[in-house]
């Protein structure tokens, strides 16, 4: 099997591998920065000093990203999850329809079904959390 055949068979793996790489990198970097940030704020308060406003802004921003506590933020986040998953479902479903005669069409169908279930779940959470 040469490179071209390998690429033709497994090109779709680019996307999940990229997603996994970004997720792992993003998580490890965010974790490292959060630890540094907490240590710095603690050092400032231990010395009885006010931490710099940009550091506090960064901490607030990172806290908000990790803990969307306000109902409006949570609602917006749920709505966006639904939109993103619905768009991915539509995209992969159309992709599957176009190439449904190919051997690798199943990959598109699997992703479309997975995204569809996630979109449905997001919609349910969005509707049920509206109370």
């Amino acid at each position: 099997m040469n490179f071209e055949e390998l690429f033709r068979d497994f090109w779709w793996l680019i996307f999940p591998i990229f997603g996994m790489g970004m997720a792992v990198t993003g998580m490890s970097q965010a974790d490292r920065r959060t630890k540094t940030m907490v240590d710095l704020i603690k050092s400032y308060t231990d010395q009885g000093k006010e931490p710099p406003p940009e550091l506090l802004r960064l901490a607030a921003q990172s806290f908000e990203q990790e803990n969307p506590n306000t109902p409006a933020t949570r609602q917006q986040s749920n709505a966006w999850s639904f939109v993103v998953f619905a768009a991915l479902t539509a995209g992969f479903a159309v992709g599957w329809w176009w190439i449904r005669d190919q051997d690798y069409a199943f990959a598109f169908l699997i992703v479309a079904v997975t995204m569809g279930v996630l979109a449905l779940g997001s919609l349910l959470i969005l509707i049920l959390s509206r109370k």
Binding site: E4, M22, T25, Q29, R33, L40, Y44, E54
Partner: protein, 48 residues
Amino acid sequence: MTEELFRDFWWLIFPVFGMVMAIFGMIQNGAREDAILRDARERLERGQ
């Protein structure tokens, strides 16, 4: 062979461009946050 491969997969340029931009954005955002942390640490070490 190469031309045929390009004809079949030219559209991959767009998602690959998106991926490159995502990596670029992540690096830039990381550099900005690192600069804020570095600055705060330097100020602390200087005793300000």
